[in-house]
Symmetry: C2
């Protein structure tokens, strides 16, 4: 085996606390501040203002030690803060899997949505604790917090699927979630 190969991972146990939305042991945590979300929100000026106004954390992703390599099955918990930018609910960057493979999201806390786009059709799944959203291969996916609390969900995804964020910047997701008096509304571009 060449020296640069990823060492095989051994069996191990992970403690999953659905209430606290934690996975132990922890792997890397990724934090996305507003400045990392260039091009996502419809209103670019409002986005720029939010970056200037303290550049808040929009979401974080905590993973386990399972590596993102082919044949492994990593997991992570994403927590999206509550907020809007020019009326548009805070959300993840969204991505397409360059190696098309399915993924599942299990909602743990708060009120969210799973927005999916296959290049033609947009689908939305309301996510409340206990809902599993099934993301079939070939569907770009983004999570949105449409509530007043942090929205948290567990993701399970094939380690070799990859993350193509550029696809979403180029093609969009078909719809956007805006705050309205009684909740949210999906609007086309």
């Amino acid at each position: 085996m060449p020296e640069f190969a990823t060492p095989p991972i051994s069996p191990f146990a992970i403690q999953f606390d659905a209430e606290a939305a934690t996975l132990t042991p922890e792997g890397p945590t990724l934090t996305r501040r507003m400045s990392a979300l260039d091009g996502l929100f419809k209103d670019h000026d409002a986005w720029q203002q939010a970056v200037a106004d303290g550049d808040p954390v929009v979401y974080s992703v905590q993973s386990t030690p399972v590596p993102e390599v082919d044949r492994e099955l990593p997991q992570s918990i994403t927590s999206i803060e509550a907020g809007t930018t020019a009326g548009e609910f805070w959300m993840t960057k969204g991505h397409q899997h360059p190696n098309h493979q399915g993924e599942i999201y299990l909602a743990l806390h708060g009120t969210g949505g799973l927005l999916m786009f296959d290049g033609t059709e947009t689908q939305w799944i309301d996510m409340v604790p206990g809902t599993i959203g099934y993301i079939p291969p070939g569907w770009a996916h983004r999570s949105v917090n449409v509530g007043a609390d942090p929205y948290k969900f567990l993701a399970v995804y094939p380690g070799g699927a990859g993350h193509d964020y550029g696809w979403v910047l180029e093609h969009g997701m078909g719809k956007r979630a805006y705050a309205v008096t009684d909740g949210f509304e999906l609007r086309e571009f």
Copy 2:
């Protein structure tokens, strides 16, 4: 696209009730009675007697509509009844993925164990509600109910991994779980 191709599955929501250990909508359910477990228990005569004595259900596996095909990510909930055969705790057949890929089990109810074997080394993970057992690619895996209640767990696995039950019949799992006064004990063959 040829007519015999599996139609692509659309995004959809699954209701996961961790307390009741159910997934809705349901896909196929597989039920394994004692008679389906030929060659698994150490004591073949005791197994034969259990088949004659009413051939009880040992475990069942309820899936969702996500198909077991390459690139999809199916899920299922397995429920293993409490019981022993000549002192050996009831268990699943166990299998190896012919297409080596990782899998996760999340314990939901009862007290179980996740037995893994890579052909040389055996590993055991104690499974109680909230424990995720990580099954790396290349490790055969079997679940065992070592408690007095049904042991139930959620599985998430790549649809193209496959199930090789013959590998386990040929190679075994390295160890077996036997009932002792204060719980269970793992014994080598």
